[in-house]
């Protein structure tokens, strides 16, 4: 009986909510976030969605913001559990152009709001800020949106100043796929965009190479000898010993000189929160290295 299940509770609360539905005609109150960047944005505005997708993975990969246990997991981003979504009775569903294909089905359940974050070749940070503004307006939280933006800009400016001493080195931002391949973040990634805003130069001149299969062989990182290498997110277990013993990895100038920083997990396709998480972790790692540089 103890597990008198979530669905039962859900149905009950859904019925209750139906009664109070008319009252909330103004700003949407029950948000369902399908897109992770939108999930972050909503939380940044102070509104915790009642339901979101792939929370197990989100807590592991994105870490921030913390999502309370009572937020309902709607299943996979690629195939959202429509039935559960229907039972949640959201009054707004947050998506991005990734989900164009499902838009029809989703909007049959509740109105949808779709904002672009990532467009091939375009830097995403400004888009993430625009999303904060647009969502703030929709949720009746324009003031919060303004303070989020001001806060972000201020933090970036502070960090830019305090990191000025490190900024002369070009920086590779990578994610290790296997012991021979990495994914690389370029100017059209959140991390690459933030990096530039912190006054650094991205050692990778091209657009991002972030795909399922890590596409960039490690030797491509030899192009900039003076660079530092920042590894974003944990190295996969099965790649660790291979990478440690790799001749080329160990011959890379930054590796030889100990200019490799390892950052914890950050969502690669996140919004403002992921961007700021990267900025903070990057700054902390740099300052911890300190004299070593």
């Amino acid at each position: 009986m103890m597990s008198f299940n979530r669905r039962g509770v859900l149905l009950g609360s859904a019925a209750l909510l139906l009664a109070g539905h008319a009252k909330a005609a103004g700003a949407p109150q029950r948000i369902a976030a399908i897109d992770w960047a939108m999930l972050e944005t909503s939380v940044a505005l102070g509104i915790m969605p009642v339901a979101a997708t792939e929370l197990i993975q989100f807590r592991k990969d994105a870490v921030e913001p913390a999502i309370p246990d009572d937020v309902i997991d709607l299943g996979l981003r690629g195939s959202v559990n429509l039935e559960l979504l229907h039972l949640v009775k959201p009054d707004l569903i947050l998506i991005s152009p990734f989900y164009t294909r499902q838009e029809g089905t989703l909007s049959a359940i509740a109105p949808t709001m779709s904002l672009p974050f990532y467009i091939k070749g375009e830097p995403p940070f400004e888009k993430a800020l625009n999303a904060v503004r647009a969502l703030g307006e929709r949720l009746g939280r324009s003031e919060e949106a303004m303070s989020v933006e001001a806060d972000v800009q201020k933090q970036l400016a502070t960090m830019r100043q305090s990191l000025a001493g490190f900024a002369d080195r070009p920086t590779y931002l990578v994610n290790v796929g296997d012991s021979r391949h990495v994914r690389v973040f370029g100017s059209d990634s959140m991390f690459g965009d933030i990096l530039v805003r912190l006054g650094f130069r991205n050692a990778w001149p091209d657009r991002s190479r972030f795909t399922f299969a890590a596409p960039v062989p490690i030797e491509k990182l030899a192009a900039e000898k003076d660079a530092r290498i920042v590894i974003i997110s944990d190295v996969p277990v099965e790649a660790r010993s291979g990478l440690r013993s790799s001749m080329i990895w160990n011959a890379l100038e930054p590796v030889r000189q100990g200019r490799v920083l390892q950052l914890p997990n950050i969502a690669p396709y996140g919004g403002v929160t992921a961007g700021m998480r990267f900025a903070r972790l990057f700054a902390e790692a740099l300052q911890a290295e300190g004299a070593a540089r």
């Binding site: 993975q57 299943g75 039935e83 559960l84 229907h86 499902q102 091939k120 062989p217 080329i248």
Partner: protein, 655 residues
Amino acid sequence: MKRFAWIFPAIVALFAVALFVHEASLRLPLALWGKMFLSSASLSMDEIILFYGIFPRAGVALVAGAALGLSGALLQQLLRNPIADPSTLGISAGAQLAIVVATLFFPEFLDGQRTFVALFGAGTAAAIVFALAARRAFEPVTMVVSGLLVGVTAAALSAALTLAQGEYLMSLVTWNGGSLSQQDWSVFQSLSIEFVIAAVLSALLLRPLLLLGLGDAGARSLGVNLVGIRFAVATVATALAGFVAAGVGLVSFVGLAAPALVRGMGIRRPAMVVAVSPVAGALLLFLCDGLVQFLASSAGETFPTGAVTALIGGPLLLWLLPRVRTADLHEKSALIPKPRVLRQSLPFLLLAGLTIVVLALAVARDGTSWMVLDLTQIRDLASLRWPRLLAASAAGGLLALTGAILQRMTGNAMASPEVIGVSGGAGLGFATALTFWPTGGALTQLGGAGAGALLVMVLMLAFASRRHLPADKLLLAGIAIGSLSSSVLAALMAIGDQRSWQILAWLGGSASTATAGTAMLLGGIALVGLVVSLFFTRWLTVLPLGAPVARSLGVSVPISRVVLLLICGMATGAASLLVGPLSFVGLIAPHIALRAGFVRAGDHMAASFVLGAIVMAFADFGARTATFPYELPLGLFAALVGAPYLIWLVARGER
């Protein structure tokens, strides 16, 4: 050997070497290479990359190519089948599945034990395929169709497992094909040792293997231990594929191409074919890898080499088609009526149908426990549940109907909708629509998939209308097209951007995208399809008796084929457009229907249709409840239902 036949490979070899030198000298001018080996000073970065990256990569390409070439040549000689190779027989896929499973569940174990893991997977897949094909005397088409099914199952299992782990992004990654990029000489060293051992074993086995070619009786009279030799050769070939999979991942069709190229040059003596194939394989993979690197350095697009070699498979199969021997082995024993079984089967079908309707509409799950919904809840959820129930059953019915028609038409018990290539064509069209009209929305994508399916269907019909084409070869043509489409999709996924997500979602298949409108449409198509095919009962009664009998009874084989394929194509197309490319239901439903006593053509089709609908409805129920709230792709779940059936089929042995 034809005169001057050596000129062509010599030119290719020169070209491949030139390509390699060109790419390598981008890193370090050729003039400085000598200095690298002579000077005792520590190496510069460029020299290190050349010495530990580029040279071993070339070495690995050569050795892996040689291993695959040898493996393919051995299998082709053993099975007397020009289209046998580790990829067409599902062996590479099995190895890859084992690696995926280990990556997910035992990553520490994989780090160091890759070879064992891959060998285990390759061995299991080979055992299944050989056991399946043993029932039809290792007849080539059945082998390849079985291999395809094992490959599909392995891919489905791997994707389902990754999905169940919540690693959505990862899910089809590992199917993108092997990359040959190297960081040191370790892979080259281990692959070389493994290849040399296998080559020595092959040399020892060659003479008895060639004696096998004389026919079983002849070989036995010469004192050859048939079973032992067959087993040993199969083991060596499988192990070679496993070694390559462990070292570099999935590299398809090199083993198919190498012996074919050797024979194409006019080399006919079996011993020579086996001996020269490794050279051809090495050269081929070296060349492919050179092209991949050239593409990467000049156009900036990096593809894994394995995804590129996969592209040659489809066209190559089509080219080899005329050489494949087909046996007219019709399984007449299956057509003996069993009315007693039929009487018991009907109520069972009704019961199963009723059960799934109740389950699908009135039962729910919340991750920890099951519950029966009350009437209000049923009504509340009905608008979401009936369309997917209807769409899933209609798709299942259509696919099973197609399977029944194809199995009767070709007389091959392994024929099923995925081997006629229509869903492959739909996939290609879908990807094309995504590429050229990225903002087109659902309708454009549907249109693209429809156009792709139609195009492939026209191709298949052109094949089918050829008078003297054995029915089995039709299946091979379909497999070729299907393989081409899946390799193009894999290459697109390797480029990877938003498209990959959408391709991934489509490949998985899902009934959850069905709306009331599309579900009714599909339901309507299903009913029309069933009624129309029942008009052709006579053809389907006559065709299984073989082409000569059919002709003597006044049935035009080309016309009946074209008409029936048209129905099959439209049925498969409609099902895969709306629900995704689904597997297995089309294969197993007609089998079960036969076994249940629905033997006459009309009964067989109708019963397959109903069974397919029921099975798919169950699969959809499973897909949405098994890992609630995480929905498994329907296609994967359907494949998971089919896999145990295949294994059961193997375990049963003789019919």
